[in-house]
Symmetry: C2
Subunit: 363 residues, 2 copies
């Protein structure tokens, strides 16, 4: 049997740097845990635009469809701000999500004990925080038609369409309920059903799917209240499910509660492939951070934790994922810190590469 395959798309900015550390980790699992992967690498985002004039070439798209998992670094940078909407680095990312049909975006917001002081929130509000946001990722206002800027009378009008079918809502909801079953059996769905008909349908379908999961305690919240409650008392939540646009904002809000964006991974999952594995892409929540790119300052942990999610969700290696997560916790507990994690309490300052090495040591 051949090894499972991984396509690495480092992208722009700090993407290549943090991904280099992930490669070390992948190699370690091959050498020491008998978990070898066939790893290939390709371009996405600005890097792909520079090479091919498009933020994702058709060839790369085809390869992404064939592998068992994609690992993505980050895309974008000021150099590409002037580009037309249709070839901006983000379009590469959105194309991957859409064409691989990665409808369930899993965004954990977890507060690491060693880093609880980093939050702008009071320690008791966030210590031990462990939320999982399931964001619908392939529909809604991100992809709905009609869209564009049109002439109307003597002015222009900008139009986007929020659009959700029952089946789109259903599969995202089901992914969330399945996760809730493996966690604390508590799910909160967020929309604006008081204002938007798409939110009414969302609430109705989530409620219906919930009947298949009687053990899960389901609640509904308007998204504006959701933002407030995340800030006020985030530990009231376990799993949250919401649409693409609300998910974009609420998951970033939740991420920032932890205070350490350089620590947060994500998984984007689709339907099972022939081999039973879901279509999948893993990426850190942070961006390409062009201001610190190439300086060895980036924190590779979010990207390494994204690989841990790959071990868990694509390769059914939950124990190995936990091994990796535990190694990272140990390194943090030892006070090893990239620049972004260096607080008033100090610690041992390390570069991107050194952080990777320390994690390998801890493994």
């Amino acid at each position: 049997m051949s090894n499972p395959s991984i396509l690495i798309l480092p992208g722009d900015g700090i993407g290549p740097e943090v991904m280099a550390e992930v490669r070390k980790v992948i190699d370690w699992f091959g050498a020491k845990r008998d978990l070898a992967f066939d790893v290939s690498e390709d371009l996405v985002g600005g890097a792909a635009y520079d090479a091919h004039g498009a933020p994702l070439s058709d060839e790369t798209m085809a390869r992404a469809q064939e592998v068992d998992a994609v690992l993505l670094g980050a895309v974008g940078g000021p150099k590409y701000d002037v580009l037309d909407f249709s070839v901006k680095p983000e379009r590469g990312l959105l194309r991957l999500r859409k064409e691989m049909d990665l409808f369930a975006n899993l965004r954990p917001a977890q507060c690491f004990d060693a880093l609880a002081d980093f939050s702008s929130l009071k320690k008791d509000i966030v210590a031990g925080l462990d939320i999982m946001i399931v964001r619908e990722l392939t529909s809604g206002v991100y992809f709905g038609e009609p869209r564009g800027i049109f002439e109307e009378g003597n002015e222009r009008v900008g139009i986007n369409t929020q659009r959700y079918t029952e089946s789109e809502i259903e599969r995202a909801a089901r992914a969330a309920f399945e996760l809730a079953m493996k966690r604390n059996k508590k799910l909160c769905s967020m929309e604006k059903a008081n204002v938007m008909e798409s939110g009414i349908l969302w609430r109705e379908v989530v409620t219906r799917v919930g009947e298949e999961y009687p053990e899960v305690e389901l609640s509904h919240m308007y998204a504006d209240n959701g933002a407030m409650q995340l800030v006020r008392a985030p530990k009231q939540f376990d799993v949250i499910v919401t649409d693409n646009l609300f998910g974009d904002i609420l998951s970033d809000c939740a991420a920032m509660l932890t205070g350490s964006l350089g620590m947060l991974p994500s998984a984007s999952l689709g339907a099972p492939m022939a081999n039973g594995r879901p279509k999948a892409m893993y990426e850190p929540v942070h961006g390409s951070a062009p201001d610190i790119a190439g300086q060895g300052k980036a924190n590779p942990i979010a990207c390494i934790l994204s690989f841990a999610m790959a071990l868990r969700y694509s390769f059914d290696q939950g124990d190995e994922a936990t091994r990796l997560e535990t190694a990272i916790e140990k390194v943090l507990a030892d006070g090893v810190r990239t620049a972004d994690l260096m607080g008033p309490e100090g610690g041992t300052p390390v570069s991107t590469t050194q952080m990777g090495d320390k994690i390998i040591e801890a493994l």
Copy 2:
């Protein structure tokens, strides 16, 4: 000359209780500051539905169009959850906003010194916080067509339309720049121009309006990053301008940073009327809080501060507004606390009515 007119719409839940305290304050200004108003009262929300079968009658709508300012309490309650979308209490509020064309919703997020401990955020992050969010209030996905739940093949699809014309963006932007000129000359505009064409047009128009305000330092931020930055370091902002839906979420997020929702007012302003005053409605940011309604527990300050905004923005009585705000600060500094403001440090517990009395005393 006749007195300026105010229409009071107490609404549901704690609305009538907090509004009763506002009336005392209005009467005080009439008696002691020679600022008499012609005050009338009417129904909105569930209360209007109970009386007329609609959350806002045509008669009330017509009166709202005629007065110099509307003061609204809050709408909604569990009793009305079963109602059809078209007659839900919220529709009354949305009708007022739309038909009065109140395009600029001003939502201050201000942290009161005496209450800085109330925030879930660390004190140094929020102490002295003073942000003004300008939310576009009459367009976008709240009102865009087509909208609804439609049959499509063998399933249903929920659709809403985000829609902004140049002139809609322009007038909201202009309101924000004007405010910025009176404050710290710093404006941040938020959208998702990396994903939505309506956001591209938004950014373009705001930038163009900005050319008329060279003194104002204008920046642009994606709304997801905006949510993060609000949580991470809210004091980086002075005035924020954003669309109806992003504004709904981001202003609630910002409100919760202060930790005391019972303190936050809002103003919704439209075009100038024949007498030069803008069409205007003022309301607290908090909801109808049905769980504590009728128990004398509600905090009337947000509603009283909304009247202070009316003094400032409708009646050109900035000094009197400041007088009222200062009285409230004094009462708080004296440790007078409704239930929601009662922290570990204690204070003098008071009821809704007593808080109103204390504020009158301080005046």
